[in-house]
Symmetry: C2
Subunit: 265 residues, 2 copies
């Protein structure tokens, strides 16, 4: 089964396009988890048990684990193992934003796809298709390329006009038309830029889009859903982290956001 | 002392612009190191003792350590500790090619600058200055931004023309004119693109450039030196990894390349 099929099946099974971000920043963990020997793993396990029935996917930003060195990586591995055992049908994304030259990317492929066992990874486009081939050639895994990022200053280079199109649209076109020979490509488009989501949807047909920026960053579910759904009324992985995992009641927040999203399908 | 001053002082002290890449790919380590419990650390220590008198800098590509998970990170840390104790004046570069949104980059800053103690890191420009602020605001550390990468397919996006300039030149101008308020920015320009090195030198004045791609990738020392030196006859960090560390005699290779470089100063 391809990575994108795995996401679609899970989204269908639980009727959810939600992706919960396990961005388990040590400084923000509730106090009761700080005392564990493995605070991030224990917190993640708790969040997973609270939220799994409402989510199609979990995304892990590597920075929050790498900040703790080998211990953080170990707890990320334990979390992935736990998901693999208990909820193997949930789609897992490694938000690593990698992108090196060909030879070197193989190390990241080993780490992220083989050792940790993620279903998909986020990638920087700057080095081009040729460099990213070790990721792209893995037909069993998803390659989620940064197109229009959610941050306020995203336009500095992404909005540069080249041949009548902004760079982010050229990235969308290249990934759609040239990089996607294994049908394993997706794109990142921030919820904070709904006009850009609409345009990327036009450019890429039914391609699945990862949409961060809901909640803490200010993106609106209504705008994302009105601009981003594909012809199957799906094709969106809608990500929220802080707004769910650090809420008083993560289960309730995940359910609320899932239902909010479903209200527009 | 700023990171760039540290590089300049070391380069002056050992009369070398060489940067040895400790890209200690497990599959390529000599057999005698494979048997150690800490093969990468033992190999690195040997290479450091063989090459330190000829090198201004060591660069570590994270992918080769992350490929082994927590063990690899641990051995990277041991290597950095060893350098800190024995050769604290050697400039250390973490070739991590990171670039996330503001909030998240702080995790990488903690890992790379504080926990591992690197002097500099390589960064993807795609998210813009605002996103990279947690790196850029560290005036004590170096931020080495990808401008023109050494890979054959680098031009896919980097050569796009926007307002009369290719993207890689716009990146060079932005970093030089706007990002460098803490005088801690450098740029990556591949040795495989000497015309681009020449242009980046024109755009950025005396900015220090990290130049990978000598040796295995086909870049020429003569062309790099003829196009890249700044007004101080310096400003270049010339990187070679495989050509030195997997050579029969790494000390001899490092010395030969150092002298080859010095022949053009």
């Amino acid at each position: 089964m391809s990575a994108i099929d795995k996401f679609d099946e899970r989204a269908e099974a639980v009727k959810s396009l939600l992706c919960v971000g396990l961005d388990s920043d040590m400084e923000k963990l509730p106090e009761r988890f700080q005392k564990y020997e493995q605070p991030q793993f224990n917190f993640n396990r708790w969040i997973i048990e609270q939220t799994h029935e409402h989510t199609a996917s979990y995304k892990f930003n590597m920075a929050f684990y790498e900040a703790r060195g080998p211990e953080g990586l170990k707890e990320l591995q334990l979390t992935l193992d736990y998901l693999q055992q208990r909820h193997p049908d949930i789609f897992t994304i490694c938000d690593a934003k990698r992108g090196d030259i060909d030879n070197t990317n193989r190390g990241y492929v080993e780490e992220i796809f083989d050792w940790l066992g993620f279903d998909a990874v986020t990638l920087h486009p700057y080095l081009g298709q040729e460099a990213l081939q070790p990721f792209l050639s893995r037909a069993d895994k998803g390659c989620i390329v940064l197109c229009r990022t959610s941050n306020p200053g995203a336009g500095e280079f992404q909005d540069l006009m080249a041949g009548g199109l902004p760079l982010w649209q050229i990235v969308a076109k290249r990934v759609h038309e040239a990089w996607n020979t294994n049908h394993n490509c997706m794109l990142v488009v921030g919820a904070t830029y709904p006009e850009e989501i609409k345009k990327v949807r036009e450019i890429t047909g039914d391609m699945t889009l990862l949409v961060p920026g809901i909640g803490a960053q200010g993106g609106s579910v209504a705008e994302v859903m009105q601009t981003g759904l594909n012809s199957q009324r799906s094709g969106l992985i809608i990500h929220s982290a802080r707004g769910i995992i650090f809420a008083e009641n993560p289960a309730e927040e995940a359910k609320r956001l899932k239902e909010d999203i479903n209200g527009y399908r």
